[in-house]
């Protein structure tokens, strides 16, 4: 860090933010790749239904399709927020 650096308008290090965002979005897009076209729509409709009962973040619903020796498994997971736990 140079003495004069604080006088300049240098961008803050942001590569680590880019890395984390890409890790998440790439993993998410890969999980639905090759699957049926309805997966993204299914995911967003499920999210709407769940939100009628519990307030969850948009990325709380994860839908993935796994092929396992001859049959496909549609896996659905919902991450509930801290405060909703134990309320059923």
């Amino acid at each position: 860090m140079g003495i004069l650096d604080f006088l300049r308008n240098k961008p803050a290090p942001s590569a680590n933010i880019a890395r984390e965002r890409l890790r998440i979005i790439v993993a998410q897009e890969r999980s639905t790749r090759g699957g049926p076209d309805y997966l993204p729509l299914l995911r967003s409709e499920l999210l709407e239904v769940i939100r009628k009962y519990v307030h969850v973040e948009p990325d709380a619903v994860n839908v993935s399709l796994e092929s396992d020796s001859g049959h496909d498994v549609l896996e659905l997971s919902v991450a509930l927020p801290e405060s909703e736990r134990g309320h059923g």
Partner: protein, 270 residues
């Protein structure tokens, strides 16, 4: 056997045409008979980068439509005897491309003993991009260390694994090579830009080359000379290394470290 290499990326402006021109020229320098084809119908640019824009008489679409022979449309490079350019049409739209026509041109190139055909893909994932990758044996996926480019290239990697002749026929995979371009070691060192390792980890693929951001790339395109021929430039040398790696040679990656600063520059910035 003709090997077909597609240069693709998804995102525009990352350096596909620069890369196509340099790879084709580099392979020709190694004595291979090479054709480089512009698939960007309606937005012809490879001819400019190769410096043959005033010698285009017939184009790729003319050949597909039977209005000219392949021999008439291939433009021989003025610097290398065994390098040919097939320009895109500037007046038609991308619907003039069709799978049978592209296959016929590629078969004709094989009949004419070409060792390599480099297909310069348009941006996007529509017809032109699809046909550029469909017949490929190798894919060079050009990626910049930047979020939208990395995401788009992952999408392209998915398409290469499913929407190509090799994938459809179960005839082995298209060999995927990741080429990281517009790399800025100083910004990477400052934590402002994704590093080679970051991009490799996110995409799960190692790089075949890293092309540093270089003023010589613009100078080369201004002059219509593929930057690989500027052997004094870092970008030119990085492309030479990349060609060697594609041909199976081992070359360590270069131009990854920020130049060391002197004491004055370190104190006062630079």
């Amino acid at each position: 056997m003709t090997e077909i290499i597609v240069v693709t990326s998804g995102k525009g402006g990352v350096g596909k045409t620069t890369t196509s021109a340099s790879l084709a020229t580099g392979l020709a320098q190694r004595g291979k008979k090479v054709a480089v084809i512009d698939f960007d119908v309606g937005l012809r640019n490879l001819d400019l980068i190769m410096g043959c824009e005033r010698r285009v008489v017939y184009d790729f679409i003319n050949v597909i439509q039977g209005e000219a022979s392949l021999k008439q449309a291939l433009i021989r490079d003025k610097r290398l005897d065994n390098l040919y350019v097939l320009a895109a049409s500037q007046t038609r739209d991308k619907d003039a491309l069709n799978q049978e026509g592209v296959e016929k041109v590629l078969d004709d190139l094989e009949q004419n003993d070409f060792d390599y055909v480099v297909c310069d893909s348009p941006a996007g994932i529509e017809k032109g991009a699809h046909l550029a990758m469909y017949f490929a044996d190798h894919a060079v996926v050009v990626v910049n260390p930047e979020v939208s480019s990395v995401r788009d290239s992952d999408r392209i990697l998915g398409l290469l694994a499913s929407k190509t002749r090799r994938a459809e026929n179960g005839n082995g995979e298209v060999r995927q090579h990741l080429l990281l371009s517009r790399y800025h070691p100083v910004r990477v060192a400052a934590g402002e830009m994704l590093s080679v390792t970051d991009v490799e980890e996110i995409l799960g693929l190692s790089v075949v080359g890293v092309i540093p951001e270089s003023e010589q790339v613009l100078a080369a395109s201004n002059a219509g000379v593929p930057v690989i021929l500027d052997e004094a430039s870092a970008a030119g040398q990085a492309y030479l290394d990349t060609v060697a790696r594609i041909l199976g040679e081992e070359r360590p990656l270069r131009f990854l470290d920020a130049p060391r600063k002197g004491i004055l520059k370190r104190m006062f910035g630079g």
